[in-house]
Subunit: 124 residues, 2 copies
DNA sequence: CTGTATCCGCCCGGATACTG
DNA sequence: CAGTATCCGGGCGGATACAG
């Protein structure tokens, strides 16, 4: 039956839901992706990151970096010396997010278009 | 240069970041996707939804449904009669989320595997 | 049944000050 | 510079009661 394409199997859906939950747990939230993007664009020091990401506080940035490190997206590198320098790097694993980022941004743009058109119609 | 594939253009990235923010704003959060999934699996009445989605309160469910309706994912249908029956339906627009849901769940599953393997190594 | 209103505890996160 | 500790206010969301 063709309906299975639309209706889906409930157990499959639940499994996906769990997986989606896992994904959102790891990369959801206000800052995770922004931190990763900031790191990608070449800002690797703590204070540099804080300046690059508007509105983030030291405490929150610290927590985000720890979680990102736990999840394997970021590597913390301490260069001993005088003074001590700490750098953060995105790992190759963070590249696995590429597909998600692409679909999210594609959809986000289309969605905004749709919202703008609705707003236009509301005005008329 | 081949590096552009990895490093990306900063303005493009910012544009994507905004779009990703828009997307997460619309479908991010704890309940949005769960509500949509519950509706898809045939639960259309308010109390039915509340029973189907573990842990959601009436207030939160009410808010989620309003936001989902505003964003065009859900249609609210009032059947006048005695008693009045209210039903919620997913709209065809919610199908546009399919790509996002697929990449999220794919990635979520792979990510969980990776975490489990790490945990296994930690034990050894 | 389908919600809304109110109360309220808790936690997120901002500001600031401080340590190494 | 690289964070941590503390204080604290606002808001999210749960419980309950209530309205249509």
């Amino acid at each position: 039956m063709a309906e299975t394409e639309i209706i889906h199997n409930e157990k499959t859906c639940n499994g996906k839901l769990v997986a989606i939950g896992d994904a959102l747990y790891a990369i959801g939230g206000k800052w995770k992706l922004r931190v990763i993007l900031a790191l990608r664009s070449g800002n690797n020091r703590f204070n540099e990151l804080q300046r690059t990401i508007p509105g983030i506080s030291a405490k929150v940035l610290s927590n985000e970096l720890k979680e990102l490190e736990l999840n394997g997206f970021v590597k913390r590198i301490v260069h001993t010396g005088t003074p001590v320098v700490v750098e953060y790097e995105v790992t190759p694993y963070s590249d696995t997010l590429h597909g998600i980022l692409e679909s999210l941004s594609d959809w986000g743009m289309k969605h905004k278009d749709k919202i703008r058109k609705q707003a236009g119609k509301d005005m008329a």
